[in-house]
Amino acid sequence: MIANLHRTSDVPGNVDWASAERVTDLAYAAIKQWARS
């Protein structure tokens, strides 16, 4: 479950940017793997 889910505290200051970057990298890797499989 997500912290600040559907709360007014869901603001940029409460975002984990490292998590966002890592998930983006993962999605990119998954797409590349899918394309080449």
């Binding site: 975002v15 890797a29 797409i31 899918w34």
Partner: protein
């Protein structure tokens, strides 16, 4: 409407060396500043913003599509609940039958399989999806659809931290995220099939559900930085990378639907138009939703999320289009679960870092 005639904007060379996190932050801050509840003018403005950013990222064939829906899930929940409560005035087998039908209908609504009751209700407005494409070099052999909704939720008592925490604990035990429709559904089943005492409890639950739903419907729209400006920021980043480094034979569809927080109604409208053009055997959906987590660092959460991902990993592929499950109970949440689990180090069938293989 189409903005495909707009030529791609030449990016500032400085942005090419800008750290990824800085770009993600910039996008999240810009989108969070827009009040973007489903089917509102704010949602339309956020769609415009996403379209402009997709163009800047190098994507082509940018298009808007419209869907018609209510601005909140509360409408359908209240309608189903009122139907059951009203039928109970008649009593007997009729009220039980209507409660059973309402339960089936609400479950179908919550999972995106059927919105039949919503269609009958007044008060629908027009919402906005935006999509862009990166054509495949050498003709498409495979398609990937990257999805990140750009609308934001509204607040309400039901999203109190204690309620959310109870849902988190249940998800940890079962590996399944509980639906906000769960309690009303159980109440309807109790009214349809239970003894008198359970029926009374079910009626009380439905009454409370109606009050909470109305309160939520009239609550503020939240900034939605994590849910789901982060997903849109990730979508733009992926678009930027895939436009600069096209993968041979891969057609990319970058889709940012509205209406997710109203029950997945935006992407349901998009699929209604596009389903026939997508081959389940060669299409992969990747969902980005709330990717900037801050509370999944514990070993307990990691293990449980990993279990969730392993169970749902097969849901990330396009054959689920064929199954027609579009909402939270279907693939709408499943890809996110996989991505979250990798973000915290759990294993899935997908690589958890660039270049990593199974």
């Amino acid at each position: 409407m189409s903005v495909s005639d707009l030529s791609p904007r030449v990016e500032d060379p400085m942005t090419t060396v800008e750290p990824v996190q800085a770009r993600l932050r910039e996008a999240v801050e810009a989108l969070s500043a827009i009040e973007r509840r489903a089917t509102t003018e704010g949602e339309r403005r956020s769609a415009d913003w996403v379209a402009e950013e997709l163009r800047a990222a190098g994507a082509r064939e940018i298009r808007f599509s419209r869907y018609k829906a209510h601005s909140t899930w509360a409408v359908t929940l209240v309608a189903h609940s009122v139907l059951v409560l009203g039928s109970f005035l008649v009593g007997g087998w009729i009220s039980r039958a209507i409660a059973a039908i309402a339960a089936v209908s609400l479950e179908a609504d919550a999972t995106g399989r059927s919105f039949w009751l919503r269609k009958l209700l007044p008060g629908k407005r027009v919402g906005t999806n935006v999509e862009a494409r990166i054509p495949a070099a050498g003709g498409p052999r495979r398609t990937v659809v990257v999805v990140a909704h750009h609308d934001a939720a509204h607040n309400g008592f039901i999203w109190h931290p204690r309620t959310v925490d109870a849902g988190r604990r249940l998800a940890a035990r079962t590996g399944t995220t509980p639906s906000y429709m769960g309690l009303p559904l159980m109440a309807m089943v109790a009214i349809a099939a239970g003894p008198a005492l359970l029926q009374r409890i079910g009626l009380a639950v439905l009454g409370i559900s109606i009050m909470l739903s109305v309160q939520a419907a009239f609550s503020r729209t939240v900034p939605g930085a994590n849910d789901n400006a982060t997903g849109v920021a990730g979508l733009l980043e992926l678009g930027r990378r895939l436009a600069r480094n096209p993968i041979d034979g891969l057609e990319v569809i970058l889709l940012s639907p509205g209406g997710e927080e109203a029950g997945g109604v935006g992407i349901a409208g998009w699929l209604k138009q596009e389903r026939a053009n997508l081959d389940p055997a060669t299409t992969l959906f990747v969902g980005l939703d709330s990717i900037g987590l801050v509370s999944l660092s514990s070993r307990h959460a990691s293990a449980r999320q990993g279990a969730t991902a392993r169970r749902t990993s097969s849901l990330s592929s396009a054959p689920l289009i064929g199954r027609g499950s579009l909402g939270h109970g279907g693939w709408g949440w499943a890809p996110s679960a996989i991505l979250w689990s990798c973000a915290i180090g759990a294993s899935t069938r997908f690589p958890c870092s660039p270049g990593e293989t199974e």
